[in-house]
């Protein structure tokens, strides 16, 4: 470790110097130049939550349409646009950006004891490119030419012959935006986790949430290219007259489904694993003990990451794939239950032998258990080939995946938001409003979605804009719509709670829950430089396990954005690196890339002409800032470690 600076400088002076170095600047111009992970993380939280609200509004409108048989509230055109944009929004603009990007970008650097995320400008770029995707999909909808072929837009319905116009193009190109964003964040997080951990935080001591983000980042690297490829192939069929998916010219409609679900199923785990990691974090903190089966949960997370890539065909059991092949995917699908149930058993064991304090965020852990389990168990039915043939593509499946995704992501998300709210905002959330929020949402959720199991078994296919009165589906649909009203009210209470508590909540101390991970060791909200002294770590729950005289890292400069590099396995210090500061170029690059991607829907020449401005923004992005900085930035490799 570096030798301490011989000149004694007071903490107040250092804090001031660090604040100047790491502050982002004020004013509208600086909104677009931010490169600190807490700022980008908050932008992700707010933006993805706005799209959760917008997607929810569409769902509520869909429920109103289905409240009566032969209802004319929306009609088929609007209905098809609404359910397509609802699904696409929730998956691509809410679930992954919220559970992966928002929580990952905000929490991981704090949890590993770093001053910032690796490649901060790339992280900023990822946010703006994500916003580009949001505007594209919703721009189409607001112009009443929204995508209308479903969130997985199967060919040939989504092909040029049956979906003329630009509607499906908006959807297909939105995929490129959002997955590019996720891939950029994956690069940032992998490097942050493997190279910027606090000294002493060996892999074996990494918080479970960081482990999960590492596994998830690798899943993103392998899964997202598949869907970018397939959506681009679809786009080329539509704009460049290729015939990848045109059966009349030898194209293959099932190729599309294989490529899509090769992304699509891992994506379910990309949404669920962050939820599971939040549950692990909350359960440990509120049981007042280390998590039971740490190593096992890490192995379970990795196993889920691998197995998640081997189950995609269970979305395609009705396509006539030979039975032996289908049985293989039944086995793989059932196998993935094993690591997930292991995590459940470990959570129960942690609580059982702990001293559970059922404080506010634990309410959502309870909700998660009650809700997610139902989705997991109905998944057993969907894994079975003959049974899946009955329930596939019906409201039973709609019920199942809402139980899994809302149970596995939205319940932990609300728990996580209440848990980290004091850290992010600096004030506590209002408990009474939070409880009202929970019960409205929990009751409404079950009313809406439990009912759908029966609708599916009683023959109601999904994605129908209406149904005949003699089908006897009316009452059940009305119960489901009633539940949607409760859910909407619950989410409104949450929004009010956030807005109120942000101004009037009780001021939060640094560690209101007595948690053990590093983010609770700094003030709430964290200062712009995160840590005054970079911490070292001597246990899995740093704040619980570190002795009072735990050493800190010194010798990191206060006057430039210097960060510590450690090695991947043992987090031994390896060197220092200077990070680039605020810059407008990532925003400009995202703007130009967005313009090119959107332009390419209309003319392929956009790609050719657009190359020039893209290259200019990249040159601006990496332009060296003078000799002194270059010299400083050259890696300082240390040969010895203490």
């Amino acid at each position: 470790m570096a030798v301490a600076d011989p000149i004694v400088v007071s903490n107040a002076e250092r804090s001031e110097a660090l604040r100047t170095t790491w502050s982002e600047g004020r004013g509208i111009y600086h909104w677009f130049t931010n490169v600190h992970h807490t700022t980008i993380g908050k932008l992700y939280f707010v933006t993805s939550f706005i799209f959760f609200l917008l997607g929810g509004i569409l769902a509520a409108l869909v429920r109103i349409q289905l409240a009566r048989p032969e209802n004319n509230f929306l009609g088929p055109d609007k209905y098809n646009q609404f359910f397509t944009v609802h699904g696409s929004t929730m998956i691509f603009l809410f679930a992954v950006p919220m559970m992966y990007q928002a929580f990952g970008v905000y929490l991981v650097p704090l949890m590993v004891g770093a001053r910032n995320i690796a490649f901060p400008r790339l992280a900023a770029f990822s946010y703006y490119i994500y916003v580009g995707g949001c505007l594209l999909l919703w721009g189409g909808l607001l112009l009443n030419i929204g995508a209308d072929a479903g969130w997985f837009s199967y060919v040939t319905l989504s092909g040029p012959a049956y979906s003329p116009g630009k509607r499906v193009d908006f959807w297909a190109q939105m995929i490129t935006f959002t997955e590019l964003s996720a891939l950029a964040v994956a690069v940032c997080l992998i490097v942050t986790i493997l190279k910027h951990r606090a000294p002493g935080m060996t892999l074996n001591r990494m918080p479970l949430l960081v482990w999960e983000k590492l596994v998830l980042s690798f899943m993103v690297v392998f899964a997202m290219p598949a869907v970018m490829l397939v959506s681009t192939m679809l786009l080329m069929d539509r704009t460049a007259n290729t015939h990848f998916f045109n059966p009349a010219e030898g194209g293959d409609v099932l190729l599309y489904q294989h490529l899509f679900w090769f992304f699509g199923h891992p994506d379910v785990y990309i949404i669920f694993l962050p939820g599971a990691a939040i549950i692990s974090t909350l359960v440990a903190t509120f049981s007042r003990r280390h998590i039971f089966g740490y190593a096992g949960i890490v192995v379970a997370t990795i196993a889920t990451g691998f197995l998640g890539f081997g189950v995609w065909v269970h979305h395609m059991f009705a396509t006539g794939i030979p039975q032996l092949g289908e049985s293989f995917f039944t086995a793989a699908t059932l196998m993935i239950v094993i690591p997930t149930s292991y995590q459940f058993f470990c959570w129960i064991a942690t609580l059982w032998n702990g001293k559970p304090q059922l404080r506010l965020p634990m309410l959502w852990v309870g909700g998660f258990f009650f809700v997610f389990m139902i989705g997991g168990l109905s998944g057993l039915m969907l894994a079975s080939v003959p049974l899946d043939l009955q329930v596939h593509d019906t409201f039973f499946v709609v019920a199942h995946f809402h139980y899994v995704l809302i149970g596995g992501a939205v319940f932990p998300m609300f728990g996580g938001i209440y848990y980290w709210f004091p850290k992010i905002i600096g004030r506590m959330a209002n408990e009474t409003l939070a409880k009202v929020h929970f019960w409205l949402f929990f009751i409404g959720f079950n009313l809406t979605f439990f009912t759908m199991h029966f609708l599916g078994l009683r023959g109601m296919p999904r994605r129908v804009y209406t149904y005949l009165p003699e089908m006897h589906w009316t009452t059940l649909n009305q119960i489901a719509t009633l539940g949607a009203i409760f859910m909407t009210a619950g989410v409104l209470v949450f929004v009010i709670n956030v807005l109120w508590s942000k101004q009037h909540g009780v001021i939060a101390e640094a560690n209101p829950w007595g948690a053990g991970t590093l983010e609770w060791g700094v003030s709430s909200p964290p200062p712009p430089y995160n840590f005054l002294n970079l911490p070292t770590v001597s246990g899995r729950e740093a704040l619980w396990d570190d002795p009072p005289n735990e050493p800190v890292v010194t010798g990191i400069r206060d006057d430039v954005r210097e960060v510590l590099l450690t090695n991947s396995l043992d987090a031994e210090p390896e060197g220092k690196e200077e990070q680039p500061g605020p810059s407008i170029w990532p925003f400009l690059a995202a703007l130009v890339v967005s313009a090119v991607l959107i332009g390419s829907i209309f003319t392929l020449w956009a790609v050719v002409y657009g190359a020039v401005p893209i290259i200019i923004t990249i040159i601006g992005w990496v332009w060296p800032k003078g000799d002194e900085a270059v010299e400083r930035r050259s890696h300082e490799k240390w040969s010895t470690t203490v």
């Binding site: 088929p76 199967y154 060919v155 040939t156 319905l157 012959a161 049956y162 009349a248 409609v253 007042r288 039971f292 009705a318 006539g320 039975q323 049985s327 039944t330 059932l334 196998m335 239950v337 094993i338 292991y342 058993f345 129960i348 064991a349 609580l351 059982w352 032998n353 702990g354 001293k355 559970p356 304090q357 059922l358 404080r359 309870g366 258990f369 009650f370 139902i374 168990l377 109905s378 057993l380 894994a383 079975s384 080939v385 003959p386 049974l387 899946d388 043939l389 009955q390 596939h392 593509d393 078994l457 009683r458 023959g459 999904r462 129908v464 804009y465 209406t466 003699e470 006897h472 829950w513």
Partner: protein
């Protein structure tokens, strides 16, 4: 725990009532061996899932409450939680039970799958179902071309005999789903697939397209009409015939209206010069129970409404509005209703 038990009982009660309900299109009301076996598998997995759910929720509730600390401030962290050995044994036993349960489900699922797919017979009736936006073309192929029967939206099968259904699509992906009889089978453009199907109880069973296929996915129903072998052969014999030449002036006039208007651009009536295959074959339209893919009853009024303004019944449908004079329409209806 009490709450969990109440919730559980309520669940079962609702599930059972849902199952007993006489729904005309329901997976819980099987009319053939395949849907029956699948329903059996459903209940087996349901009860396994139910027991697992109750046990896990009881364990979770007990774990959260047995040592609960009612304290608003964080209490000190437990350095060495007691009973870790017991917890390890419990967790690993639970894991072992999970693996065994999952394996049993896998075996039962594969065996049920084999039974469901294993229904075959020699010289079966073969039916080609082709999906269209938004109706079903149903063909009973025959080596002699003029003996081939083509109809729409109604699949007649003999009771108690396995039939082969060949599937294909003319445009986008559809999915053939008669829940009382069997699960879904996708109709994929570019793929000719096949499956076996058997109905044991005579009756009319409704089915519906289950793969989103555009504007009128909601109104793309069909009926499976299961009848005795005799009735089935009679029906097939009747369907093979060309349409009868109109006897009275009203139906003759109707035929002329049909042939002189847009109808002829899309529909076939064998025995006349109408031979287009864009829309459903109408040679024996009057013998069908429903029209517009199980959307309207096959009555004179419904037929009239459908012909004049299909877009208000199925917006986006491929059929254009036909603003006919009242007497033309009456003649056309008389003609169509004569097509037994």
């Amino acid at each position: 725990m009490k709450r969990a038990a109440q919730l559980g009982c309520a669940t079962v009660a609702i599930m059972l009532s849902a199952a007993c309900c006489q729904a005309q299109q329901s997976a819980m009301n099987p009319a053939g061996p395949q849907a029956g076996k699948i329903e059996w598998l459903f209940w087996v997995i349901f009860w396994i899932a139910f027991v697992v759910y109750v046990l896990v929720i009881i364990a979770f509730t007990r774990a959260s409450t047995r040592n609960r600390v009612r304290e608003e401030r964080p209490v000190p962290v437990l350095e060495n939680p007691p009973g870790e050995r017991g917890a390890a044994i419990a967790v690993h036993s639970a894991l072992a039970i999970t693996v065994i349960t999952l394996f049993s489900i896998l075996v039962m699922s594969i065996i049920t799958g084999e039974k469901v797919e294993g229904i075959t017979s020699k010289n079966p009736v073969t039916i080609q179902v082709t999906g269209h936006q938004w109706w079903w073309e149903v063909t009973y192929p025959n080596l002699q071309a003029d003996q081939t029967v083509i109809t729409a939206n109604e699949v007649h099968v003999p009771v108690g005999k396995p039939v082969v259904v060949l599937t294909n699509s003319a445009d986008v992906i559809h999915s053939f789903w008669p829940p009382n009889i069997h699960g879904k089978h996708d109709l994929l453009p570019g793929y000719q697939n096949a499956f076996w199907m058997q109905v044991d109880q005579p009756g009319i069973y409704r089915g519906q397209c289950a793969e989103f296929c555009g504007y009128q996915h909601a109104h793309m129903g069909f009926a499976i009409v299961a009848e005795s072998a005799d009735d089935f052969s009679k029906w097939l014999e009747q369907q093979r015939k060309a349409a009868e030449t109109p006897h009275d002036p009203e139906t003759s006039r109707g035929e002329q209206v049909f042939l002189g208007h847009a109808c002829v651009m899309c529909h076939t009536i064998r025995g006349t010069t109408a031979g287009s295959r864009m829309g459903p074959d109408l040679t024996h339209l009057a013998s069908r129970h429903m029209i517009a893919a199980e959307t309207l009853p096959n009555t004179r009024g419904a037929l009239a409404g459908w012909i004049v303004d299909p877009q208000s019944i199925k917006p986006g449908s491929q059929m254009a509005p036909n603003p006919l004079d009242p007497d033309e329409l009456n003649a056309l209806l008389a003609f169509l209703q004569s097509l037994q």
